[in-house]
Symmetry: D2
Subunit: 254 residues, 4 copies
């Protein structure tokens, strides 16, 4: 800062604000050093060299091999999904996969690709999903020239928040989600003290802007009615029967 | 979704939650279609091909040439900064540059580089800044092996919020800021109805997580005491006397 | 604390927090005067002499006589409700009454009484309601020994938020609502920028604690799906067919 | 609306919003019963008979006698303040008094009176204070015809939030504070996850509307720099040297 801008305040339209109501500053001047905070030093990390590379403080959840190091299926067993050429792909009927570790608040990077060969439509094309804390779904779908309900397309918080824009790439093309997730906190009566909140960039474009979740994802019914207290949870990837693929998954706990 | 997860609720530690207090669902079942919302269709945009490329709905503020198309100096004249090889660099003493357009809520992408030749220390090394709405500064500094006050280093909301981590690259290396900014709204008495909020990723790493600004950036004094109502404002880049460079700047109004 | 002493926050304070992460103060000391703000002087009002009396800056909406000064029916005509002995009572079939003035954010005081002669049950006993901005209902009902759905009893934000406790007095006894209401603000796409929020004390007991409304009150369906932009609106009192009475209604714009 | 009819929200509603952007409802109709929630029943309490009377679920902290049942001085000993005629009065030099119980979120009712015999001015007249969780002060002062700094007068959150209006009664007259307090929650780094929030009605008039506290009360310096994690805490009443009196204090944990 320093060498400040001389910026006359813009006046709100219609002159509705009385200048009288704007507090004036304290009469006793301060010095610049009074608003410096030096300690403790901010932790230093090494960012990825290029976009998508995991920073030094991330947990790499999938780097192209060895899926079972960090993931299980729903029964805690080795996941049935196929790992090949650095990519993991849903194998229909083997069920979800979930991280062994459990997370609270986090930044998540994940790359995904719907099948190049288009088949099905609406919810039946390239359907999968990323669940935060096992409960809150960020939809994955081939939403490129594939109309479905707006609160169920790619990038939606399923049946709660449609994406701000449809920023999808086509089938067979890798796409990215960068997620900032804040877990709920609970009151003693089992309801939310603060509800979950999520921000998502898809392919670098903001599609969810710190939206407030109303409750766990519900295929049928009203999310508010399903709120129950929970602690940290796994990241879950959904088997919805379509051979959607994933790569380069990492997470930073916040 | 569909084919839901059977997920027994985690019990909060210490059993402090009375199961009695958790609402039970309504007894009359619903159907999946009741929570589908189809209209209107979500607007389709084209994301950048690779990270950093402007999406189709962005305003490109600087693409390497023709700075004066979108920017002026503080007096509304042609900016005095140097454009060369697709890069714009601060020219000491020519003052700030600011966008001709004014913005409210937005997503901003900007790339910056502090001088390869290190000179000065603390606030004197590679110092510049990005101001939201002409008032709220996201600090730019060479904070690679250069200790300064934590609420004044690169990635800080200057003198209000230190970055969560120091995710800086070294001098002479290009770095990125991806900013999600929500402008304040005002009450009729001139105070904030909702204060400004900002999220920042530096080099792909979350460094500001939806933090609430206390008021305009102040080099001296307390931000709260300087709150005054304002409308949309320019993006301002600071001349702090160091030849910091910029490239690839685009913005999407939200 | 009702024997809830082993709280996560305490444990956290005692152990999990690294002292290193707590910022230390600036080294340069300040003086007390630096944080005093003297101007402008806070506006002086005269509070009511005893509880329930309108303060000097309130708009008295009903003081026992002359209902038509501030209220109309739904068609803008003289209301059909009965005024007698300083009390106004619903006349079945004459429809709602609404204030001629429209309001945004406010503090509202209202006193109400369900019929001393109990008849009907569940939603059929003493049913009425106070609507903020013509859209958001705070339920009035005889909920004294009269079970109904929890999100529809007296003190509920109808079908959105049950009251924290049932603080009702019996039929024929005057009760009070003290309401603090914050109107929604809207984004340009017609959705909420900030949703409505409401705090309610019933008979001096907090029953709604700054709850966030999901949308307009809906008897059938999901409030979120009905959000539409609106400006200031009337206070509306509902004719639900029961002879519920009101008195001493005043409001302060915030 | 005090002639403020040309409001942006109205204009926005009338023109700037594209009808296309407002979601339409789901096409499959629901039934009213689908949004009823019946279980569990809301807990029934008995409100006070008249305003100020403690409801059945309150902890009575002072009912006119036996101060030592619920209070100690700062050393954990019997408080040195004077109890007489159902009133407790500060005895200069005996120090603060604090509740033996510790509280998190709560509703608090407290009645106070500054000395009928006026002496001193500005901060020197009838000065005392109510501290939430031992850290966050709601100012008590004789602010009737007694100018002081706006963020330090009666009803201020001391040096953080001035009251919305000056709703004071005169010296020697009983006044009431009704407080709704939400305690902060903390992140693992020792900063606020959610900051404290407070709503205050003074003599029935809203003077603090869910304001966010920046940190503990500081006589000197900046509250943000003093944030440290803490658990539940006592209610503290301040000895500021003036013989301010109190009566009828009760609290409800939320």
């Amino acid at each position: 800062m320093k060498g400040k801008l001389l910026m006359p305040a813009l006046i709100l339209a219609a002159g509705a604000v009385s200048a009288q109501q704007i507090p004036e500053k304290s009469p006793m001047p301060m010095k610049p050093e009074m608003t410096e905070v030096w300690e403790p030093e901010i932790p230093v990390i090494t960012p990825g060299e290029k976009y998508g590379d995991a920073p030094s403080d991330a947990v790499v959840l999938f780097n192209g091999t060895n899926l079972e190091a960090e993931w299980t299926n729903d029964k805690g067993e080795t996941p049935g999904w196929k790992v090949e050429n650095g990519i993991v792909t849903v194998v229909r009927g083997t069920g979800i996969i979930k991280t062994k570790r459990k997370f609270q608040d986090f930044q998540l990077h994940i790359e995904w690709r719907t099948p190049a060969e288009v088949s099905g439509n609406s919810q039946g094309r390239g359907n999968s999903g990323v669940f935060m804390q096992e409960r809150y779904e960020l939809q994955i779908l081939d939403s490129y020239n594939n109309r479905t309900y707006r609160n169920g397309q790619a990038g939606s918080i399923y049946k709660q928040h449609p994406p701000l824009v449809n920023a999808c790439k086509g089938p067979g093309v890798w796409q990215t989600y960068d997620v900032i997730y804040t877990a709920p906190r609970f009151k003693e009566d089992g309801t939310y003290f603060t509800p979950p909140r999520i921000t998502v960039l898809q392919n670098g474009v903001l599609i969810q802007n710190n939206v407030v979740l109303r409750g766990p994802t519900e295929y049928i019914g009203i999310p508010e009615y399903s709120v129950k207290p929970h602690g940290p949870g796994s990241i879950v990837l959904q088997d919805h029967g379509n051979p959607t693929s994933f790569r380069n998954i990492w997470i930073r706990e916040l």
